[in-house]
Symmetry: C2
Subunit: 224 residues, 2 copies
Amino acid sequence: MSKQAEFAVILKMNPMFADLGADELQRLSNLCHTQHLANGEVLFQKGDAGDALFGVRRGQIRIETGASDGSRLTLNFMGPGDLFGEVAVLDGQSRTADATAGEASELFVLRREDFLAFLEREPKVAIKLIALLCQRIRWQSERMEESMLQPLPVRLARRLCALAADFGSEVHISQEQLGVFVGAARESVNRQLQAWRKDAILDLQRGRILLKNMTRLTSIARNE
Amino acid sequence: MSKQAEFAVILKMNPMFADLGADELQRLSNLCHTQHLANGEVLFQKGDAGDALFGVRRGQIRIETGASDGSRLTLNFMGPGDLFGEVAVLDGQSRTADATAGEASELFVLRREDFLAFLEREPKVAIKLIALLCQRIRWQSERMEESMLQPLPVRLARRLCALAADFGSEVHISQEQLGVFVGAARESVNRQLQAWRKDAILDLQRGRILLKNMTRLTSIARNE
DNA sequence: GGAGAAGTGTGTCATAAGTCACATAACTTT
DNA sequence: AAAGTTATGTGACTTATGACACACTTCTCC
């Protein structure tokens, strides 16, 4: 399979490009380049211009940010098949976090200028994209308000489910970072996790959470 | 001033269309119609297809929703110069609330099909719009999380400031509805308002709040 | 292998805000 | 004007969660 075809598959998996036609997708993915990163190499830093969209072909990219106290917090891990920077490539705003390779990696790169030129040639795609961004806006404004008003267990369960969807039932994250994710104190996170461990919903290890009963966890996430 | 020129001014005031060029704006506003509504007439209801964007030329439109207990809650008042349905016109999703005329009104109407055809003819505008929607997505995801984590007084002050911007220092809203706005219990809203009344920041009447010291209120909204 | 750092577990306390209960005040309807 | 209805004011209680304090464990590095 060609590099471009491989990239097309990744794009197709992302909701933002999911309802593009096969022909449109193909013309779009023809614009991509690839880029290699050594372990630890920096892809971009907070403040850099958002001039491209990336898809992970192999390896791992860590999205992290320097907290105000100087410590680093990992916000996300992107593995093969993951796409990131979709919003930046569209609006060109500067990056809001750093990205570094967690291992030797190869990325698909779609540059902003190429993408914009493509949209100008294919306004129908631009319109589809607009509809999609609108959906996202609606979705955000519905979920966010709702979501933040939910009690901690629900927020926590939702986040764990989301992480599990990406990385399987063994989530590698510290309770501290989990607290940042869900906007709660580390201690509160710990207490909730303890309760769930007693209920055999999950198991805890240093820097790791093992989801044992996703069924119950998702039902908590749905707020019973 | 022609109807179209008047509409162009309203569009220009909305962030979503603010950075369109004068020529683009003119061609866009040429697509508008007008529509008259008698007092109490229904413009659209929850679930209707979002097939147009509206601008208020004169009169008042109430955006309201039937709460689960059957009572009606007014979510917003739109006065002359206000624009609503910007998102619906782009993505065509169904309305999430009802809109009825609070008095005899005249509206500018920009139909979705006309707008989409326009975007297809002018892909540069579509791209500007995409950038704008992205900004909005970023802004939402930044603000929302932050905003809901703010203590009640801050959220309340922000909402009051926003309402004041639209309707001047006399905000016509019940404390119950204000509670829905900021996601808090009516009683908590009342207690906070009482405290502010003691501090001469505002005055309370049945169904009405009189802002007396916007300076202090905005400083509370900024969280000191 | 010892020292320190980073992550985790848990108790105690303070506080913001929700809930319930009821009083009062202001409009509406008949 | 009497009665009902809606909006507001306020006290008492409960609860979730953040804050602090500190013990304990596991990793890392010299």
